[in-house]
Each structure stands twice: as C-alpha cells, then as structure tokens.
C-alpha cells in the first residue's frame, strides 16, 4: 500500500473539501433563508473568478483592488438576481423555483463563455503560489495552504456573523419563521436580498481562490454540482452540516481516486463516487447528518 500517496490525497481531500464546504455553506444560506435551491451556485463561482481575473489581466489593476471590486460586484449581482428573477416566484411550486435557477445557470454559462472565452486562464503568479512547501514530509503548494486558511477564515466570519450580529440574528429569525420575523419588525425583503448578496459574494471569493489554485474556466461550475452531495450528506438546512458534508465529499473523492488508481482500475471513479454516496444517503437518512427532519402535520 502506498501510504505516502494516500496521505497526500487525504490532505488534498481536506483542502478541496474545505472549499466545497464554503460553497455548500453559500448554498445552504440561500436555501435556509429563502427556500430557494440555487442550481446556479457554480456559475456564481465562475463569474467571481472571471471578473477578478479580467480586472487583473486586462485592466492591470493590482490584485487586492481587483479582489475588492469583485466582492462589490458579486454582492450587487446577487441582489439583482434575487430582485429580478426570484422575487416574482415567491410562493410558486418548488419545480418552478428549481427551473428558474437552472435557466439562470444555462444563461450565465453561455453568456460567460461568450464574454470570457472557452479556454482556461491562469492568474499571474502573484503569491508565488506554485512554490511548494513541505509540511511533515508532505509537499503542499502555497496556493493550497492559502485556500485552506481562507476557507477557515470565511467559516469563522460566517460563525461570527450569525452568532453575534444583528443582521445575522435577523437572518436566523427569518429562516426560522418568516411571518413571525416580519411581525417583529424584521424586513424579510431585505433579509432575502442580504442572503443572496452574501452567498454570491462568498461564492465569488471561492471562485477567485479556485482560480488561483488551478485556473479559471467554465469547468469550475462543476463545483456547483458537487455541492449537492455535500449538502445532502450534511443536511440541507444546516450550515455546520454543509462544512462537514463538503469535507466528507472532498476526502471521499480523493479516497475513491486512491482506491481506483491502486486497486480497482475502473477509471473516473473520482467524479462519480459522490453521487453513489448521495443516493445511499437519500435512501437511508434523507435529512442528512445535521438536517432538521420535516414533520408534516395534517
């Protein structure tokens, strides 16, 4: 057994899993507070990556400025999507809400391919991100370490925001019960807009990070699909569950790759294993590890 490779893959799994966790958190945030399933989460990610990249490469802005501009842009974009596309569908059946975000994802995908091109593009090497550091005998690229730190930072900010700020409390109240929240003077409209803004913003950050780690391309949108196994494993309405689910899926992917490469030789198990897990979880524990079980009253 190739222990070194296994360890290396496990570390990769944790780092990628943390990023999945961040994106899954954004997904859960929208679902929890507005009951919308966002199939376009992956496109949000790609959009963030592209905007930041073209600001750096084409406009020649310094990275930090481009990054801040990307954050502002993504927040405004999230609010606009919520206002224009999702507000008219409040109260419509779930199939309509699912389909509208799927329509949005197709639209964004082809529009971005048109504007930014089909090829993967790399960020200029700003952080020396390709240099390799050795931790405990394992080789890890600096970019991966940076992504890990940033993921942890985002999670900490999320925790702080929901636990200690007024808006966070308002969002938790809205997620719990919209009518009660409204009668207590919380603006549900504002809360919805904020949920989308935060979610788009953080997805944008994840997109930039993934762009630095690998490259920006439309294939990053596949993270938006990987998020589904993660949130189902963790439970659709649990932020903690999203992080744990993301970690599990990230590690599982890499374990699948290890098993595949060393023993099974099936090929491509890496991409498909999370979906088998997804089906199994749905069969035995549909509300995931941390999700609230729906109790239906007649």
């Amino acid at each position: 057994m190739n222990t070194e490779l296994l360890l290396q893959l496990l570390v990769n799994g944790v780092i990628v899993g943390m990023l999945y966790g961040v994106v899954a958190m954004c997904f859960v945030l929208i679902y929890k507070s507005t009951q919308v399933v966002n199939f376009a989460q992956g496109e949000f990610l790609v959009l963030g990556g592209w905007v930041c990249l073209s600001l750096v490469v084409q406009m020649g802005l310094p990275f930090i400025l481009a990054f801040i501009f990307t954050l502002v842009f993504m927040a405004i974009f999230g609010i606009l999507v919520q206002q224009i596309i999702l507000r008219p569908l409040i109260g419509e059946p779930i199939i309509s809400v699912i389909m509208v975000t799927i329509g949005l994802s197709i639209f964004m995908q082809s529009l971005m391919n048109w504007i930014f091109g089909n090829d993967a593009k790399r960020f200029p090497d700003i952080f020396g991100s390709l240099s390799v550091i050795t931790i405990g005998g394992l080789n890890v690229e600096t970019a991966y370490v940076m992504s890990l730190v940033l993921s942890l930072l985002i999670m900490a900010v999320f925790y702080f925001f929901f636990r200690f700020t007024r808006h966070g409390l308002a969002m938790r109240a809205t997620a719990f019960n919209q009518q009660i929240a409204q009668s207590l003077g919380i603006s549900v409209k504002q809360t919805f807009a904020m949920a989308w803004a935060i979610s788009a913003l953080v997805s944008g950050v994840a997109g930039v990070v993934m762009g630095i780690v690998s490259a920006v391309s439309n294939s990053l949108a596949f993270v938006g699909i990987k998020v589904f196994p993660a949130v189902i494993v963790g439970g659709l309405d649990s932020i903690v569950g999203a992080v744990v689910g993301g970690l599990i899926i990230g590690v599982l992917e890499n374990l699948a790759e290890f098993a595949d490469g060393e023993y099974l030789h099936i090929g491509n198990l890496y991409t498909i294993a999370p979906f088998y897990v997804l089906i199994v979880i749905l069969m035995i524990k549909p509300y995931g590890l941390f999700g609230t079980k729906d109790i239906e009253r007649i």
Partner: protein, 354 residues
C-alpha cells in the same frame, strides 16, 4: 392567475360518466386531431428534407416530453434525469439489435420496456422523498447513467458509441427520412392517445391525486409508493421509446448526446408548453426546438449592424433557451397552452370576454 373558462358549445351536456371520460372533450376536437394527423401524413412527401427532419425530431421529442409531463405535470414529481433515460433507450435498442439480432422495429418498444425497468429502479427513492430531495436524487441518477454509458462497453460500446441501423418492416426498409417519418408519426399518435387515455383512467386520477394532495390521496386509499414508482416507470417508458427512435434515426448513438443539458431541455419543453397538458407538451417541444434556430437567424441578420453578434451565434442559441425558461416562469408560468386557452375563450365568449 385568473381562472380561464373552458366553455363547451351550448347544448353539449354530459349525461353519463362514460361521456364525461371521453377521449376528446367535443366531437370537433376529435375530428380536428384526426384531421391534423391525416394532413401531416398527406403533406409529408411534399416537405423539404429540412422540414421533414424537424418534424421527425418534434415527434421524437414530443414522445419523451409527454413521458416527463406524466411525471412532473401529472404526478408532481421532479426528474432531472430524463435525458439519461432517453439515452438509455437509444443504447438499449442498439444493444438489443446488435447483440440478439432482434429486428429494430421490435427492439424499439422493447427498449422502452427495458428503460421502464431502469426508471423504476431509479424511481425507488421517490417512494420516500419528494420535492427538492427527489430533484437531487434524479440529478445523481443522471450522472450515474452517463458514467455507465461511457463505461459499459458490452452495452453501449463505451466511448466509441454504437451503431443503430434503420429498421425495416417485412423487408420494407425505412431507410429514407420520409419512410422513417411515418414510423415516428405512428409512435407519436400512439403515445398521445395512450397518455390522454391514461388521464381519464383510474390510475390517471390516482396520479393527479398524488400531485394535488398526497396525504388526502393516501387517506382515500391511493397507494403512494406504488403510484410514485409507477409514474417513474411510465415516464421512463416514453423516454426509452423516444430514445430508441432517436438512435435509429441518427443511425449512431454516442455517449456525449445525453447530458444534463438534454434533461433540462425536456423540462424546458414541458414548462414552456404547460405542465400537465398533452397538447401543451407538443407546443412546448416545437417552441424549444425552433427558438434557437429563430435566434440564430435573427443574429445572422442583425450581424450586419452589430458585428459582435456574428461570433456569438452559438452562445445566443444556448442563452435563448435559458432566457425562455426564466421569462416563461416569471410571465407565463402556465405555459403556451394557457395562452391558447385564453385566446379560445375570448373567441368563444366574444363580445363578452376581454
């Protein structure tokens, strides 16, 4: 949404339950349906090759979309894996013909039966979960099936795809588009009649009850598990049948053709046409098939004014489908068939309707 009256001609009373469950609501509707089919059959030899190929595709996609409409529009389930079932039908038919030497004309419905079995297996989660969870489960089945197509060399020829020869009846080869059109027309008519018939049967009413209020349905004695899985089975049958027709039409089945985008396209067809409506489905199929072509023509003709459009034609085609889904859901959530009903009502109620 305002209620749209669905007026019947004066003096047309239903005096028995059999009348009420008739296949066509009025005698005129029945005659019109027959007239359209006859007109299509008569006109087919005079159509250009392009028109003919479009008609064949409309027929094939209509069968598949009808299947999806049973699942989504009638039973209220969600499937994001219909494209994969469509693909399974295409591969299954080619596999049956190539491995067992069964004539393609028989293999096509057989492929539908095989796909039914697969659909019911993947529909098992539907017994326990619904709504969003089901959507995600079917999304997983899409990817698992796609992976299976690429992997199972014995079944699909793997990455090389498999050949699917045109069928023949009693030595009469359906090797031209015109001859194949009649086969597709036959199966389309059979499917439309079968689905319309299903809707007026006991099982059809049970499916509607599951959609409208599944708890009440269960209390009234409808077996939820049975009907949910049954609805997956029926919908997969039509997907498989249409897929088989598609495979034998192209004479070659390749792995790349049945992605999640195809599944989304099927959903777009039934949402744009009208959920739960048989004729709406066909309208939706025509709309979704023609929209990208119309957009391409528009982009080509506008390219003289805005040169940037010329390079973006392919993207505009894709974007138009996404935009159509969004716009229909926001402005006309009941689909094209609703528009048609409004027009018909204002015609019949003239001068009293708006």
């Amino acid at each position: 949404m305002g209620h749209v009256p669905n007026p019947r001609p004066a003096g047309d009373f239903r005096t028995s339950y059999i009348d009420d469950a008739s296949l066509f609501k009025t005698r005129f509707e029945g005659r019109a349906a027959v007239a359209i089919v006859v007109a299509l059959a008569v006109a087919a030899p005079f159509l250009s090759n392009y028109m003919l190929s479009q008609m064949i595709l409309i027929g094939i996609y209509s069968i598949a979309a009808l299947g999806l409409n049973i699942l989504v529009g009638i039973t209220g389930q969600i499937s994001l894996g219909h494209g994969a079932f469509f693909g399974f039908g295409a591969f299954a038919s080619a596999w049956i013909v190539n491995s067992f030497g069964i004539p393609a004309i028989i293999a096509i419905p057989l492929a539908g039966v095989l796909t039914t079995a697969i659909g019911m297996i993947f529909g098992v989660p539907a017994a326990r979960i619904k709504g969003l969870y089901l959507a995600i489960a079917t999304l997983a089945s899409q990817f698992i099936l796609e992976d299976f197509f690429a992997r199972a060399d014995w079944f699909s020829g793997g990455v090389y795809g498999s050949l699917a020869a045109r069928p023949s009846i009693f030595g009469f080869a359906l090797d031209t588009d015109l001859r194949y059109f009649f086969l597709v027309l036959f199966w389309t008519v059979v499917s439309v009649v079968a689905v319309t018939n299903l809707l007026r049967s006991r099982d059809g009413r049970a499916l509607v009850a599951v959609r409208d209020h599944y708890l009440s349905a269960e209390i009234m004695g409808v077996n939820l598990t049975k009907y949910r899985i049954l609805s997956f089975g029926i919908s997969s049958f039509f997907a498989g049948l249409a897929g088989a027709l598609f495979g034998h039409y192209l004479e070659f089945v390749s792995v790349e053709g049945f992605t999640i985008l195809l599944s989304i396209q099927f959903l777009a067809m039934i949402i744009i046409g009208g959920l739960g409506s048989v004729y709406g489905t066909i309208l939706g199929v025509i709309f979704v098939l023609l929209l990208p072509q119309v957009m391409e023509m528009a982009a080509t003709s506008a390219a003289d004014l805005v040169p940037a459009l010329a390079s973006g034609k392919a993207y505009i085609k894709e974007m138009s489908v996404g935009a159509a889904i969004i716009l229909f859901l926001i402005f006309e959530p009941e689909g094209l068939i609703h528009r048609w009903r409004v027009i018909r009502a204002s015609w019949k109620l003239f001068p009293f309707a708006r």
